[in-house]
């Protein structure tokens, strides 16, 4: 069922080549220096990573969610943080491609597809995270412009991005009063908070996005007034799969490093790999990652087909894959002993990076809520 076709194998090979050459050798250094490698992102854009599942007429690669799951797993083996940022960028691109007019698509996507320009997704606010429908940023129609005011929290790429996809309230309280806007960098009134100090994801900036009387023309509105929440949630379905894939790639890399470490590290007269207790842990890691991979690919193909249960499957995949991947990465750290705790080995970075995947793009608790509600709905 999950055998890659020749074309997918070639895509994966190309991504592996890129990750091995451009990401992996620098991942630890970028993490330590908190360096956001925009030049390398441009090269990623050249490969086709800037608009993976956007249409080809605007520079997209025209691939599927199933292809993307493979691509992000491979990319994350090189650098989980950069892979995760590329996922967020793609979420923005997809929302413009899917919900924008032809004029909007042609205006915004080509430079995002090449990653000459970067995108940021602005939904969360200081007081509205999991309860996104409670967001308070406002957009008030004033002639042929909207006036935006509010603060967006935890925004990846903020300050470096050229395009901000902002969810703001144009109407009633709750999800139906939310509208999506494209706000370009440099718009007067748009500013950014300080770069947050974080546990992981250090190679991409995270800042507040502050909107003070930001004036954008009406044609920067994406979709209809009140349609923003649906756009935001649909974007997240795919984002969740990508984040799961990023976790899986990081954990798979950590597992392989651990096997190599246990084969060469000796204690009590032999290589550690001969200790059955440790071997069993490797077996459990491999088994759980393989189960995670199966669920991820199943959910991705379901989203490609547009199945009715795709939303629930994406939530299941996000919750399960990010959980077991974090556990596997943490086990990999333990099995590396003291070396796992050293930055140079890269393992502790993966653990720190993967930890946030259990929180963002919908916490794993919210994922359970989505899945649980779907079960109850089905039963009625």
């Amino acid at each position: 069922m999950f055998i890659l076709d020749e074309e997918q194998q070639d895509l994966v090979d190309a991504v592996r080549d890129f990750a091995n050459r451009q990401l992996a050798p620098h991942a630890v250094e970028w993490d330590q220096a908190k360096f956001f490698p925009v030049d390398v992102l441009r090269e990623a854009g050249g490969l086709g990573l800037g608009a993976i599942y956007a249409h080809e007429d605007v520079g997209g690669s025209g691939l599927t969610r199933s292809d993307a799951a493979l691509i992000f797993e491979e990319l994350a083996r090189g650098d989980t943080t950069i892979a995760a940022y590329i996922s967020i960028h793609n979420m923005v691109v997809w929302m413009i491609d899917r919900f924008g007019t032809d004029e909007q698509r042609r205006r915004w996507i080509p430079p995002l597809a090449t990653m000459e320009q970067l995108g940021s997704y602005c939904l969360t606010e200081p007081d509205a995270g999991s309860d996104a429908a409670a967001l308070r940023t406002t957009a008030i129609l004033d002639g042929d412009h909207y006036l935006l005011n509010g603060v967006k929290q935890f925004i990846s790429g903020a300050g470096a991005s050229s395009v901000y996809l902002v969810m703001a309230r144009t109407g009633e309280p709750g999800p139906h009063g939310i509208t999506a806007f494209v706000v370009p960098a440099g718009t007067p009134g748009l500013s950014f908070g300080q770069n947050e100090r974080k546990m992981g994801w250090n190679a991409q900036p995270t800042r507040q996005v502050i909107l003070e009387n930001v004036r954008v023309p009406v044609n920067h509105r994406l979709g209809e007034e009140g349609g923003g929440f649906v756009i935001a949630m649909k974007g997240l379905d795919g984002g969740r799969l990508n984040m799961a894939a990023c976790s899986l790639g990081g954990a798979q890399w950590a597992l392989e490093r651990t096997v190599a470490h246990l084969r060469t590290r000796t204690a009590f007269g032999g290589p550690l790999i001969d200790q059955q207790a440790l071997l069993f842990q490797l077996a459990d890691m491999a088994t759980e990652l393989e189960a995670a991979r199966s669920l991820l690919r199943h959910a991705a193909s379901s989203l490609d087909r547009g199945d009715a249960d795709a939303v629930s499957l994406c939530a299941m995949a996000k919750r399960f894959v990010t959980d077991v991947s974090f556990t596997a990465a943490n086990t990999a750290l333990q099995l590396h002993g003291g070396y796992g705790y050293l930055a140079d080995y890269g393992i502790e970075k993966v653990v720190r990076d993967l930890r946030v995947h259990q929180i963002l793009e919908g916490t794993n608790e919210i994922m359970r809520l989505i899945v649980g509600r779907a079960i109850v709905e089905d039963a009625q």
Binding site: E6, E7, D10, L11, D13, A14, D17, F18, E43, G46, L47, G48, L49, I52, E56, S61, G62, L63
Partner: protein
């Protein structure tokens, strides 16, 4: 302009590479098979010209069935079509025969310019482009560190022990490029998707005529032996005098 790039499938230099000690041939099962990096640069030289000029780029290889994967990568990078010389009789063909076969294929295919890597990372012969040029009766400019292609000529620089030679030749011609030429582009997703729709022609020896089919002389490997394991070298730990020690080490062997 029709540019034919000679590409070869070789064992990945990142892995261990082995010979089959019975036949003296390359053990192809022993490591991952990839397009030779130097051939990627040869292809890059052709594609760079094609980027801003009207040109058709054909990737040509002689090799086993598995070489088709490497041809697909050449197509993904931007070649317009590919030719695969595939014939089990060619297994273990030496340089002389290989050159005859490739020259026959080039004659059948037609070309204005043939670009090859200067030497493969497995065979390391470094003479195939010269042999091919000789068969074709066209000029050869080998081991070029830089390449300038025009509609009717080729020019470039090659390093010698004493300096640099600027060479030029009218087309048609054969050239080979070194690792100093531009690094190859990555195939992008669009290229990969397009590659499947591009034509790959497969020719057997019978398609290439009697001249190519039989080799009048044939070099045969008489014996091979495994390279002895490397003995431990001299380790210098820098306590402030490593420079002097290194200089003495080299001077003692008359290397400086």
């Amino acid at each position: 302009m029709k540019i034919v790039v000679l590409v070869k499938q070789v064992p990945d230099t990142w892995g261990a590479r082995r010979l089959n000690l019975d036949t003296g041939w390359l053990d192809r099962g022993g490591s991952e098979a990839v397009i030779d990096e130097i051939d990627e640069r040869a292809l890059e030289a052709a594609l760079a010209y094609q980027d801003s000029n009207d040109a058709e780029v054909v990737a040509l290889t002689m090799g086993p069935d598995s070489a088709k994967d490497m041809l697909r990568k050449s197509l993904a990078m931007g070649a317009d079509s590919a030719v695969h010389i595939l014939d089990s009789r060619l297994a273990g063909a030496d340089l002389a025969w290989t050159a005859r076969v490739i020259a026959a294929a080039l004659t059948k295919l037609g070309y204005d310019l043939v670009i090859a890597g200067n030497e493969s990372t497995d065979g390391r012969g470094g003479v195939l482009p010269a042999l091919v040029a000789e068969h074709l009766g066209v000029p050869l400019a080998s081991y070029l560190d830089s390449v300038a292609i025009t509609a009717d000529s080729i020019a470039g620089e090659r390093s010698t022990e004493l300096g640099t030679m600027s060479v030029r030749a009218p087309l048609p011609a054969v050239i080979s490029v070194t690792e100093r030429t531009a690094e190859a582009r990555f195939p992008n997703f669009k290229g990969i998707l397009r590659a499947k729709k591009k034509p790959v022609t497969v020719w057997s020896l019978d398609d290439l005529g009697a001249d190519a089919a039989a080799s009048p002389v044939r070099s045969v490997v008489l014996a091979t032996s495994e390279r002895p394991a490397r003995s431990a070298g001299t380790q210098i730990v820098d306590d402030g005098t490593a420079g002097v020690e290194l200089a003495e080490f080299l001077a003692a062997r008359h290397l400086i």
